[in-house]
Every structure is written in C-alpha cells, then in structure tokens.
Symmetry: C3
C-alpha cells in the first residue's frame, strides 16, 4: 500500500441508513475527525433503506475488497439498537469492519478467507451517558476511530467466533437440468440481480421470470432499446435488465421472484 | 488537536438545501479546494428541505461540537438570498460558522458560551459580477475558505452582536404537575423529538400524544416490534418512537404536535 | 496552485447516476483510493437522473472550472454501456475529464479553449474479466486513478479529435425584436433556467412563459413572497423563479418550454 515518502492515510468508509438531514451522520464524522485526524473519510451510502440489513450486506460485499488493506468499513444499519445485539469489529484480508452483529458482514465473510472478530465491550465512549438509541455515536464511531488511528482489534473486546450471518439462498439444479434461483435484489436502475452464477448462462436456451421468457445475451447493447435481456453482471451473476429501462418495473417483479434457466 | 509531526488539516463541513444534481454544491467545493487546498471537506447534508432553516439549525446544533476546534461549519440554507439579510461568520468554542444570518446558528448559540460574530462585508468574491441568487458561491464559500486557510474572523467584516435567533419553544409545567411540550421534529426514521427534557421522564406514569397513551421505557428493545415507546433520546430529550417502525406515521403526528407527560 | 512546502493533493470529483445504495460508487472510490492514494475524492453528485446525459453535462459545465488545474472530473452517466460507444479522457485548461464519449463534456468544451482528447483503449483494468455492464469499475475509475496519480493522458489511448457533443439550442431574435428561447432545465428549487443570455433582460418590458406575463426584476427580494420573477441567474442566463416557491410547479412548465422576452 505505501506509495511514496509519506505513509498514506488510513481510510474509514461509512455505510448507514440514517439519511443525512438529521445530522446524525455528521456527528459520527465529527467523532472520527476528532479522534483519528489522519484518516480519510469516504461516504459509501447513507441511503440504505431503514433497517435493510440484507441490502447493506450486499453493498458492503461489493466494495470492501476494492479498498486497500488498513481500511476501516464502518456500517451502522442497526434496527436492533437498544436490544441485546452485540457490537462487532472484525478483520479480514487486512480490512476492518465495525458494525452491529446483525449479519451485515455476511457477504464479506463468505468471500474472505480467515477472519478475526471481537465483541465491542471496551470502547472508549464520548463523555456523558451512553445513549441507548444512537450507538453510531457512542460505540461504533469511537471503535472505528480507534482502528483508523492504528489501534488494535484486541483492545476493543473479547473474541467472537461466530458472527451473525444471514441465510443466503443458492440456485439449485432441477431434475430436468434447468437451474432455479431467485432475485436477490433490484438495483437503482431496476436491474434484477439473481443468485444464479453467471457461468450457468453458457449454453442456456431461455431464462424465465415473472411468466416471461427472456433471451440470454452478452450485454445491453445486444438488444434493442426497451427490450429485456439476461446477462452476466459485474458481480459475475445472472442479471435481468431492460435496455434503457427498468426490469423491475417492466416485469413487475422484485426481491425473491423465482428465475429459471433452461437448456433445451 | 495536533496529533503528530505534521499539523492536522482544517476541516470544512457543508450543510445545504441544494441537493447535488444541479452542481451548485460542487461549485462551492471547487472554490474551497482551490482557495484552501489543505482543508478537508466533510459533507454534513445537502438534503435539508428547501428553505428549512429550523431543520438546518437543529442538525448543526447536533454535530458542531463533535468536530475539533478550528473546524469551519459552512451552512447555506438561504431562502432570503436576494433580500437584505446579512451574511454571518462567527466563532464559538474554537469552531467557526459561516452562514446567512437567518437563525441557522440558533441551537449552536444556545449551547455555546461566548461567541464572536461579524457581518460578511469584506469577502474576496470570485472574479466576475457577484450574483444576486447564489451567495453560496460568491460570498459563503469564499468566506469559509478564508477561515479554513487560517484567515481571521475580523478580516471578514464589522462585528455583529445580535445574530438572528429562532424562537425555541420550551416545555412548561401545568398546575397538576404534568409537563406539556411539543414535537420539534420528526427524524428520518419517523421518531418524534420533543422539547421535553429527558429527566422529566423519571417517575412519569404516562406520555400522551395524538390522543394516545404511551408507556415510558428505557429503549426500543423494552417493547415488542411495532409498539410505541417514549424514551430519552441521544440528544437528552423525550422522544416518541415505534420499534421497527415510524411513530410519525403510526400516530399521524408531526412537528408542533402537543405532548403531555403525566405523573399520576 | 502550490501553497506551502508540500505539494497539494490532486482532486478527483465524481458525478454519476448510480445513487449510492447499491455500493457501485463505493467500488469506484475503492479503486481510486487504492491506485491513487494521494488524491482527494470529492463527490459532485450520484443523484443524476438515470441516463440524463444532458443534466450531467450542465452540472459539469457549472463546476469544472472552479476546481484547480490538475483536477480529474470523473463522470459516469453511461446509458450506452455495453454498446460501441467509446470511453473518453480529455484535458482542457489543465483540468481532466474521464467519461463515456456521449456528450457529457458538451458544456465544458463550449466554455474551454483548446482541448486534447483520447479514446480509452489502453486502460489498466482490475484483475478478472472486464464486465460489459460496469465500466465505471473496469474502465473509468482506473483511468481517473491513472491521471490522478500523475499519469499522462497520452498513455490512455489514441487521440480523439471530435468528442460527441449534444445539440444546444440558442435563443433567437424575432422580426419584431423580441427574443424567443426555451427552458433548458429546472433546478431542485423549481427555478427555470433558459438559454436566453442574461444581458437580454436589459430594457425588457415583459417575459412570457406558459401563457403568463412575468415582470423582469433584479433578484428574488424585489418581489413579494410567492410572486414570479424573471432575473439574471448565477450562470448569467435568464431564469424564471418564484420567491419562496417553485416556478416549475407554479407555471406547470419544464424543460423545453418556450420563453419570450419582449421590449415594447
């Protein structure tokens, strides 16, 4: 990672469902800047749908490894604040995650090799009472600042061996050889991302979704404007898209819709 | 604040109601980067509702003191651009604010001890005519860049002793000992923030709002999913929330709704 | 631009229609941070409407020159991904642009003097197959990182002499001396920006739009709350606005609506 005479800054990314208008995210940024002044803050998103742990896990799974080792990924999508859920910090492939232990690290952990995790029990909270409603301020941002300024994971609490993981569906093969999977999310463009591995599109004759038959293709440009296409997306999975439009709206389907790939 | 051999960067935070799509915020960022290249820009929000001075004041009041001394908080929520309202720069507890003099500093001033303020009359505007519609570009960003690069407050204009302040309601005690306050804002989660101090929840028997009786509790986890709860929030005030839902929607109430805390 | 003993960071600005929730923007930021660790990332916007090349071009045209020389403006509004459209990098007045060659640089090129442009054919893509759906990750962010870390434009591909440009309407003079133009965009506040040069408001008797006659004025404060006004905006063009409201909503007009300035 070093690339010159001076050591590069550590990076802290932020992913929340807070929106920005209330100033809660800015509070967390202030704590990070105050406690870890040499870190660089990078907004991932603050527009995760309220309490959408699944969506946050998929977003984090997409970007975490593109950042350099030493990066701290702070995730505060925390519908369980005020319950007994643990706070979590973990390290995998040199990157850190600080988040509630509610499954937001699921996809990252599935991609990573070994990891080390701790429960956030020894975090240096800001002065004043620890709130029971805003652990982003009182627990997670301080823990991220600790790691971002070079502090060790072990200092933050005792080991955790089994972080919470979400169930992840897997496409299955039917007796007739076809593959049946499901839509795992619709992105902002209305593209339907599935759990069918992209290589399963090789030799496919048709893709069925929402009662419609869709012709497999290489990319958007292989079909006319407004036509539906099944292709391998940038995550390496089968995706249903409409060129210049929204597949979610055109097909009236969303998360959990069944998709079938047939070969004859 | 210094934490190593090199001086830390100064921070400039940005809070506006501009949205981002039109590029106006990027114009301001360009001016800041060009004039104060050693500062670090931190987005607070650009999604403040159009002209919502009250909401901007509350957000700023929440985050300003979490940033280190030397930070410049730039706020451009300016429905009065093109009228005779003054531009303002002030210093309180070592942090700076640059903003229209329309009340956006109300909550910050209420929390701060002493302050020094000036009217923005000697600002070095960009080349070309000063617009009468975009003072973020022609007045406020240049003033923030001046402070962010170490310039003095006094250089920016003559002293102001009475910045504009918004009226702030205060909960009052009724003859029967109950407290009557009001909702001051609903946050993105639909939580209803009130002007009743959190300590007034001690010994309370019930909280009434929108014709409904709500049981006081410690935190979200003390009630079942979907139930309404009154608790002390992270600002130290009474808040009405629905676990896993939106109190604003569940109760159909919003800003200015009356809330009553009774003790018998 | 240098302003002290250390060289300033290079800046990379980001403008996309990706939204942030899916993590695609964070992927691009990770690549930039990893490959060009000394650059500073500045969000312009990620909320450009899906595929709105025209809107992106206008936003970029507004902010590009406010950033210092050396800045890289990365624009990924790319409805043609997966078609044969080229990738483009160009330099004008010391600033760089990296974008699909689809017209997003139209307004910048109209303002700039000379420029140099190349087709992105020699970009060092991330490991793994180059996707046919996410060139922000596989083409544009790597090219921006190359420029941001001081690499040369020429390294990225062969010269392009005619980047794609959007048609831009121009207001015209009628036989009776009046000016007829059109609305080119409505901003977030509902202000209607036109292609009529601001100086044409000098001596104007009336401005007509949507069947309504509007009195020219200097600024918002010259009319009462809720009244419609025609003024010279911060881009130097005629703008129709409603004080404290939305002209787009009040007049029920939008992009392409005809506007007429008459002098007698």
């Amino acid at each position: 990672m070093p690339s010159g005479p001076t050591a590069p800054h550590r990076v802290v990314t932020l992913l929340t469902d807070f929106g920005t208008v209330d100033g809660y995210v800015a509070v967390m940024k202030g704590i990070l800047v105050q406690r870890a002044p040499d870190t660089v803050l990078v907004d991932a998103s603050h527009e995760i749908a309220h309490g959408d742990i699944d969506g946050a896990a998929r977003a984090l799974g997409r970007y975490w490894r593109h950042f350099p080792p030493g990066t701290v990924h702070l995730v505060v999508v925390d519908p369980g604040v005020g319950t007994r859920r643990r706070g979590l910090a973990l390290e995998a492939e040199g990157r850190f995650v600080v988040a509630p232990d509610n499954g937001v690290a699921t996809d990252l952990l599935a991609q990573a090799g070994a990891f080390t995790a701790v429960s956030l029990e020894h975090v240096d909270a800001p002065p004043g009472p620890v709130s029971r409603t805003f652990h982003g301020r009182d627990l997670f941002a301080p823990a991220a600042a600790h790691l971002g300024s070079g502090g060790s994971l072990r200092d933050l609490g005792p080991p955790v061996t089994e972080p919470v993981r979400l169930d992840r569906s897997m496409a299955r093969t039917e007796p007739d050889g076809s593959i049946v999977g499901r839509v795992v999310s619709a992105d902002r463009f209305g593209n339907l991302l599935t759990d069918v591995p992209g290589r399963r599109l090789d030799g496919a004759r048709a893709v069925w979704i929402g009662g419609r038959e869709i012709t497999p293709a290489g990319t958007y440009g292989d079909v006319a404007e407004g036509e539906t296409v099944a292709l391998v997306n940038s995550d390496g999975a089968v995706e249903i898209a409409v060129r210049g439009g929204s597949a979610a709206r055109t097909l009236s389907v969303g998360r959990d819709a069944v998709v079938r790939v047939s070969y004859r």
